[in-house]
Symmetry: C2
Subunit: 122 residues, 2 copies
Amino acid sequence: MSAPNPISCPSASKIRSLPDEGLELIARRFAVLAEPMRLRLLHSLFEGEKNVSQLVELTGGTQANISRHLQTLTSSGILSRRKEGLLVFYAIADPSIYHLCDLVCGSLEQQLTKQADVFARR
Amino acid sequence: MSAPNPISCPSASKIRSLPDEGLELIARRFAVLAEPMRLRLLHSLFEGEKNVSQLVELTGGTQANISRHLQTLTSSGILSRRKEGLLVFYAIADPSIYHLCDLVCGSLEQQLTKQADVFARR
DNA sequence: GAACTATATACGCATTGGATCATATTTGAA
DNA sequence: TTCAAATATGATCCAATGCGTATATAGTTC
C-alpha cells in the first residue's frame, strides 16, 4: 500500500529527478539513526541478540523508553523481533548498519583529527 | 575545546563503553542527513560545485531555507564553502557521503523489494 | 482464575528543528 | 556614494519527537 514506485537509486549520482517519496524514505532512515539512545541500542546489539531487560540494563535507560526505541528500530526494518515466552529478543536485521556506522565513525574521526592538527600545528 | 577524547571507533563492534560525546556526534551527523531538502541539496551537488542561486533553482526551495540548510551542512563538515564575488559556491567536502547515501539507498531498495515479493508471492 | 513478570502503550510535557517573512550584510557596478 | 543583486540571519510559528509516569497487555506459574 505504500511502495508503488521502487526507489531508483543507481549509485546515487545518476538520478535525474529523484522522487520526493524516495527522499523521505532515505531521510527517515537517517532520522532513525539520529538518536544517541538508539545508537547505544544498536551498539549493544552488535555483539548479538538480546532481550529487552538486558538492553535496559546495558543502556541504563528506562524500560518504557527502550521499548519505544526498539519499536522505532524494528518498524524501520533495522532490527528483528523474536518472542520467546515472556521475553522478546531483538537483533540486527539489516547488516548494512554495521558498515553505515563504521563510515560515519571513520568520517568523524578523520574530521576531528584534522581539527586537532590545526590546533597542534601552530 | 571540544575534542578531548578522539572518538575511538575501531570497526564499531569492539568498543566497550562508548562515550556519550561520541554518540552525540554520530547522532548529530545522522540528523544532518535526516532532512529531505538537505538530501536534495546533496544530490544536486553530487554533480559538482554550485552556488546558492543555482541550488535554489534546482531544489525549488526558498532562498532563506536553502541558505540555512547549506549552513547546517557546511558547519557539520559535509560541504565546503567558497566565495567568488557576489556568489557563494558549495561543494561536497566529505567524500564518505557518497558511499553513505549509496548504502542507505541500497538497503532501502532491498527492503522494498522484499516487501514487494511478499505481496507478489501469494 | 489469581498473582507475578516482561514488555508495550497512552498521555502530558518540554524541547527541537524546519518553514516563512522580513531584514541585514556583503559585494559589484553606475 | 548610491543602488542593486546574492546571500545570510533574526523572529516567529508550528509540527515532530523524546522522556517520564502510569497503565495496559501478554505469558507463566501457582
